[in-house]
Amino acid sequence: MSAVEATGTAAAELASAPSGTREMTYLEAISDALRTEMRRDESVFCIGEDIGAFGGAFKVTDGFVEEFGADRCLDAPLAENAIIGTAVGAAVEGLKPVCEMQFADFISCGFDQLVNVAAKLHYRQGIAVPMVVRLPSGGGFSGGPFHSQNPEAWFVQAPGLKVVAPATASDAKGLLVSAIRDPNPVCYLEHKGLYRHIKDEVPEGEHAVPIGEARIARAGEEMTVVAYGSSVHLALRAGEELDEDIEVLDLRTLAPLDRQSILTSARKTGKVLVAHEATRSAGIGAEVAALVTEEAFEELDAPVRRLTAPDVPIPFSPPLEQSVLPQLDDMKEACRELLAY
């Protein structure tokens, strides 16, 4: 491992096997992960706007003050730079802070502390910064340009940061646990549209999903949809409704990318669609497309295609927003086109 990242893995700490599973929403799974880790490790604490007494804008930390006390579930002023800066300092001093951005969009105010300080401390001085920034992201609820963005590509381009984006409740828990245990700063993208819409079986107790490993959400032979977050569900539904042999690869981690899984699937099917809700240019889709073209060119049966939002801000107007964000019909059409190619 390069000096850019600190080493030490969550998996090593995963001693006990999960005791069973329980059906949870994506939101409950995030909550469960936080609670599990805070119970297990006293150095873990939360900091964010309205997360204490109010329980968070989306109620992820509901009841945390009662269980862990206000010292471990800190209400911060409306100052993202201060929240992240505080977390960096706490992490350097040996704590494991989990910052909540009320909306992922607001992280621009904390950019310097995250990208220039947290991401580079280990490279510059060999100091690990074990912190997590939770980023409620994504649109689809008429939140407009400041409450709907998907800013993952900004952070994928900052060496020293890890970026994860779970699509299922089980991964939401497992990846948050791994993010907290990781000695590096991790951006954790939680799609707001999945909070209460996605529900699946989540292992109770300790459950960690390794960072950097993609997951085959649906196996197929004819084409691959590489997706993450909300787009995974569009791809799965498209596969079902079209009744076609489509493979869906859920990236889960965006930095570092699971290059091997992407290439294995691309080589198998020869046709790759990369789908995300974030804007198009220089995004994850572009990166995956470039990787596939560079490494699997001779296995390709079709150009690598992207299904993304166009390079525009997210509109308030519901019909306009729908036309900007990739919808199920768009996914089906993109799959049909590639299958027919």
Partner: protein, 462 residues
Amino acid sequence: MSSSPTEQATTAVDVVMPQMGVSVAEGTIVEWRKRPGDWIEADEPVCDVTTDKIDVEIPAPASGRMQEILVEPGTTVAVGTPLARIDAEAKPGEAHPDEHAANGGQPAAEAPPPRTEAAPPQAEQAPAPNGEEDRSRFYSPVVRRIADKHGVDLEQVKGTGIGGRVRKKDVLAYIEGQEGAPEGRPEPLLHIESPYRPDEADAPQPSEAGTEAAPAAPAGAPPPGVGELVGPTRREPMSVMRQAIARHMTGSRRTAAHCTTIVEADFARVAARRGELRDAMKRRGVSLTYLAFVARATVEALQEHPRLNASVDGDELVYHDDVNLGIAVALDDGLIVPVIRRAQRLSLEGMAAAISDVAERARAGKLDPDEVHGGTFTITNPGQFGAVLATPIINQPQVAILDLEAIVKRPVVVEGEDGDSIAIHPMTYLCMSWDHRALDGADAARFLAKVKARLETWEVSR
């Protein structure tokens, strides 16, 4: 249309029926690729013309806009006849409905200044009338790689993708179909790379003109009352090429005293030599076929036996110094015989390259009209369907034609130091039709013996 060009705008340029080789006096318009109003670039094909020998594309003499079409498809006109007019003064950006379609529907908002050099939209990029571009001959990287690995000729694979594209699944299915064929399927023949190869192997071809076929029906109308016994029928005009073949073949049967002599030849050494050279030749882009060996052996034998490299002209025999070797190439409907001139100067490798060159260009319709004239001896090679014998018709005014049929493995007696034994060798029959007016059976047999001996003693490195 008799109006002379001078009556048109001074900027109009005529497209005329060109002189296609020395022997062609007239041509028939097959299809116009441009319609009046279309933009055309200089040298872009404007129409297709067929003659009794060959099909050619007529290039535009100038850039401009198609003004008028003077000769409709199907019409035959003399060399030099104006076929269409191009307005060379037209500006490429000027709006025209067809160009809009070709340009993705964007209106030509700003017309470029007069005489602009900006490239006009290419009509080829426009979708075909049925809305789907023909992409059947674009192969993706994976398709090329798989085809290469399995030695698949992609032209034979039916594409099911957009625009007829050959997809990965198509080429895999093709390979599976080949491997999983029922056991009764005949062993693949050894010289399927022959240029004598129709596009669809499973469609029985009409009788090839190089070989004799029983006439489908006696000349003239059937006797009264027979027609209704035939059942439903369909009539199609013969293509120009079909008519030419019919004319030449019946003419040859009337003219020459046809005889056919057959020898059997053992291709073991040729096969061994081919194995030695094939990969190296393939790297240079040349496919080394058995036909090339036969052609090379034939040319050598012709030089020793000039009576077969001759023509009959009235009461005279004309002996040719050069061997101009005709190679029959099957087309979709018909065949054409491009001529490899001065074939005696070609090595085996040169012969293979020359054969694939003329065969490819013949199938692509890119032969120069003069390339199908002046042959002194012809080889025909329709063996891919497994036929072992044929009695070809001589290509007049030549005096002989050699037919290479299927090369198949057979048990043969080989003489060794320890006596005779039985071995499996690739064998074929070399069938030659010859004109008894010009030579006799002994000449034919001696010549064939020479070809056979050359093939059976081909030098092999190991």
